[in-house]
Structures are given as structure tokens and as C-alpha cells.
Subunit: 340 residues, 2 copies
Amino acid sequence: MKLKEFAKQLGLSPTTVSRALSGYPEVSEKTRKRVAEEAVRLGYRPNINAVRLVTGRAGAIGVVMGRNEFQFCEFMSGMAERLDSEDIDILVSPVAVQDTKAEIQLYSRLATSGRVDAVIVHSPKPNDERILLLHKLGIPFLVHGRSETNVPHAWLDIDNEGAIRRATSHLLDLGHRRIALINGRDGLTFTLHRDKGYREALEQRGIPFDPRLVAHGQFTDEIGFRFARSLLEQSPRPTAFVAGSMMTALGVYRAVRSLDLVVGRDISVIAHDDVFPYLTADNMAPSLSTSRSSLRAAGARLADLTLQLLAGRPASEIHELWPVELILRESTGPAAEAAQ
Amino acid sequence: MKLKEFAKQLGLSPTTVSRALSGYPEVSEKTRKRVAEEAVRLGYRPNINAVRLVTGRAGAIGVVMGRNEFQFCEFMSGMAERLDSEDIDILVSPVAVQDTKAEIQLYSRLATSGRVDAVIVHSPKPNDERILLLHKLGIPFLVHGRSETNVPHAWLDIDNEGAIRRATSHLLDLGHRRIALINGRDGLTFTLHRDKGYREALEQRGIPFDPRLVAHGQFTDEIGFRFARSLLEQSPRPTAFVAGSMMTALGVYRAVRSLDLVVGRDISVIAHDDVFPYLTADNMAPSLSTSRSSLRAAGARLADLTLQLLAGRPASEIHELWPVELILRESTGPAAEAAQ
DNA sequence: ATCATGAACCAAATCGTTTTAAATTCCTGT
DNA sequence: ACAGGAATTTAAAACGATTTGGTTCATGAT
């Protein structure tokens, strides 16, 4: 059913019908109601591609998904939750992690293709090429994380620095002195922030920073296992780990157990938890102390902010920094004297 | 830059330019080459929304993502890999798991919105409402999994029955007699197939089926832990588990350890592995025996089949059943006599 | 009686392509 | 030199909405 035909059945012009459905003021309340009712009854819905052509809007938000990122789904769920009521789609493009060139190209294509009204940028670097590119191309975009590029941009981030500072401080309070940090991929802002939080906590107690206690890499259980295992075989070994994600923590648990040590007694572990429905900190054995932040909520909020940005709110006004809770469970305990 | 302007610069008509770019035969090779080169040089690209309007194609494939499904990302990565070279997007809509009504509504909206050319259906039931709906609405769709609805439809599935039959048989070969099965959500085809494979293996050895040894549920570590733990506390306890996924297996491992038993010695475990880059069977401790099938490959192939379907290949011709490898690692061993 | 005002509606132009149907150019064989 | 047909190219009509710039008709003021 096309607009023309639908309008004729109503005895109205296409103009009036279109306006009635889009909520313009110059249509009488009576007519508007009738149009709305008949649209439902006769099943009329505007052809979305015609609308897109004439309005120039795409009705979609673009998200680039790195391979190997199990966090992604949770974030997307949040976005979608918020966009459910709007008439806006999520368009997903995947890219190989760490292939910067391909990634830049992808963003460029996405931005100029006209298929999306806005783009989400994940895991930015302090001087992120993608941000410069999107700014140059003039397409609205939101950054999930922070960057120090000097172009104005909207962002939403969690307080990574504070989270790791508090986690580290807590371990120090418990008497730990050799605390290892398993951080994210090198060069990313959140990795640097976490590093900073870690160092600050050490500095506050006058404990020297030892670069051998810090590793960088993707959030896989393998990275967690390998690094934890190699550190635990050394002497003196660390008595505590701050892990970057749930997966990394799984690897650390495995390493600890493989050496017949016990998490929570011999070795303390705190991890950052993005809150997954299928793998929870409470369910690990022993239950895992975490700095906790909901990726789903971040996704929902970022979708919301995107709508605001598209509605005209200036990007330079859109900045949100979310605090992170520290939740203590069984995986943290006083430093074992024996291990010192 | 619009087509009209671009054509004028080339001294050609819009028609010829459009045809040259779309690869029609009635354009001379010389002209085609010139058009292609100039398009790159001047940066002309057809307005995608105009193309969509006039061709009636959406240039996108719709995927509905259930919440809580960590498998989803891997599948999507595969799809995207295949679609990278095509000019086709992936449009993701999320829905709450187990809210059938909302899900049906979502599929209906997706199919009639004109935003996608085809839809992917995941985890079907033997008599799946979504399949009937999409067939009725006349939109092309592909099923990831199998269904017994009598409408013709394209599908790709792995041999769940064979996988679990072989896993169970292998455990029987090792002398296990009380083998527990942690299956997927009740009512789904793949769950039924796995159940069938399990029963067949038992039947072959004349071992009676005991419903108390089978559980159903989502693929979370919690389900794995709870069920395994409650079974292991009984007497006689099972000596082996067949787990539905990596997450479930994590839960089983945890349950086994929590009772001071050892996986691979006291209790054998085989799980189905969809192959995740961030959590691998080799990296578990002990390494996990799995029936293995790549979700990513399935995604890529399903994207490929979707393109074929859209190109006119009849749905009734598109059926693929993939075999599943059984890979033995440390988590399986002979049944411990003591436990009998 | 006339005119300005505003509410409600409408005709036609527009968005930027693809595609149909027709026109032109270029060969080839007689 | 020219008909006939193949090979190229083109003008104009879609596609289905939104939006610009009216028109109509009542109402109340002058």
C-alpha cells in the first residue's frame, strides 16, 4: 500500500496524510486521529527507503566490532534496548583487531556510505586516528572511552583509573606488596588510565613500580594464564593480581591452581567485571572480587546520547564519566606471610 | 557529487554511467574503464538510499540477537567476514530470550519494514512459529539449525545428534556407565537432537536411560555448576558429563573441584565447543575434550547461502549438514572403579 | 461590504538513482 | 553507395515518500 493509494482511500491528499503521520501541527486533531487509525487498519507504512532518500537520513547507527571481543555483545544489547522504541537500526561491521589500516578504511567507508547517521568508536587511543577521521568527514560520532585528540567529541567512559587505583589500594591495605597488573592492549587510553591508577596506588604507599609485574594484551584466558604462571614461578612471586577482565581472571585462577596454590588464601585476585549474564563473579570458585561496571548500561546510555547528538545537542557538551564499584568477594584476603 | 553532475563531467548520459558502474554488457569496454577510473578520481559513489528506493532492495541482512548469548558475536564475525566484499550490511535487533511473543513481533516488524532483504533465524524449534511467519510474509530467510515445519526453507546445521552420540559412545568405551548430559534450552531442535544422540549411544550398549541424569537450560556456567554439583553429591554419582557448551563446562569443572574431585581422573568431561578465540578448550585445566564446530565458519557460510538465496537459488535446495569433530584431550579418562 | 487572519488542506516539485524504450553510431556485406 | 543489424548511447519515466508554496474557507474586525 502506497501513500497515494492510502490517501485516496481516506479522501485526503498525500501531503495531509504524510503530515498527519509525522505529527505536524497544521493538521486538525480529528483528521490526525482518523489517519492514524486507518493506517493501522489498512496496514499502511511509509516505504523506508523513500523516506531515507527524501530526508537524507539513514535511520541507523554504525558500530564497528573488533574480532575476538566477547564484551561486544553485551554492549550491543544495551544499545539495542534503548533503540528498541525508536525507529533506528544498529548496523554492525566487523574488523580484524589490530589491523589499523583496515579499520580506518572501514570507518571511512561507513561514514561516507550514507548508511548510518552516526558512528560509535570503541577503545580509543589517546591520539586516535579514527576520531580525527570522523571529525574531518563531518559525521556525528560518539566515543566509548576517552581520547586526548583536540577535536571536540562526545564521549562516555568509566573511571578506569579510579577503579584500578582502588583495587590496588585495597590489596595494599591487605598487606600485599608484590601486586601484578594484567592490563589491556598496549596504547589504548583505558589501558593507560588503568596503568596510572595502579602506579598512583603504589606511589601513595611509597612502593616502587616494577615493570616486570605488568603485562599487556587482549582479554583472553590464555594471556591471563601465561603471565600469571610465569610470574608465580619466579621468586619472590607476587601475592596478588589485578586482572583486566573476567576471561583474564579465569586464566589467573587456572595458573594459581596449576601450582597448587589457592586463590583467596595464597594469592589474591581482583578483576574488572563488565557484568556478563553467562559468567558471573559470584559463580567463580572462589567467588571473584571485582571492580564492576555494566557494559549493557553503557550501551544503552550511549545510544541515548547518540540520539541527543543527532537531535542537535553539541558534541562538546556530551561527556560522561561513570564511577566504578569495588565489590569484595572471596578471592581477596590478607597477604600470606609465607610468600613474602 | 551526484550522478547527473558526474555524468556531465564525463560527457556521458547518466544512463551510460549508471550502466558502466553496474557492469551491464551494453557499454563499451573503453567507456566502462574510463567511468570506473573517473569515479574513483572524482569520488563519485551512488547515493545508497536512491539505489535502494529504485531497486527495492535494502542491502542488508537482519539478525535477531537473543540476550545472554555469548555465541552470537562469533557467528556474526563469520557472517561479516563473508559480507565484507559485498555491499551488504548486517542489521542487528536484540530481543529478550524466551519472550516468544516479543520475538515474533520483532521478526514480523523486521520482515515487513523493508529494511532487510533476508532474515536469519537462530535456534529453531521443531515447529517454529518464526519460520511459519516469515514464510507467510514471503521474505527470504535462512535457518541456522533445523526445523520440521512443512514449509520449504533453507537451513544450515551441524550434526548435533552425531556429535553427542559419539561423545557419549566414547565415554561408554572408557567404561563410564553413569553419564550426565547438560543440554540446551528445552524444546529447541538442537536440544532434541542432542538428546537423541545421547539416548542412541546408551541404547546401543543396552544401558537404560535415566532422566535424572539430564538437565536443560541456557549455556551459562551457573547451570553447569548447579546441576553437576547436585548430581555429584548423590550416590552413586555420575562419572562423566557431556556439557552443552564451554561455559557449562566451566561450571562443571568448578563443581568437580568444589568436591575435591579431579577432572579427567575422577570425573570425565566432554563439551561442545563453538571455538572462541578468548576461551579455548586447550587452555582449560585440564584441557577439555570437545566436539568441535566453528560458529564463525557457519556464520560465513550462512552469509554466503543468503546471497545465493537472494540471487534466486531455491530455498528447498539449500540444506547443509556439517559434521562435528570429536577432539580428545585431558578431561576424559577411564571410569574410576571407586566411583561405581 | 471588504479585508486581513489563520486553520486546514492540497498540487507539484524534489530527493538521486535505475530502467524502459528509443535514438544514434558504427560496421559489414552486397 | 547503401540497406540491415549490431553495438552504443540517450531521454524520460519510474521508485514512494517529504516539503515548498500555494489555495480555500470560515471568522471577526474595520
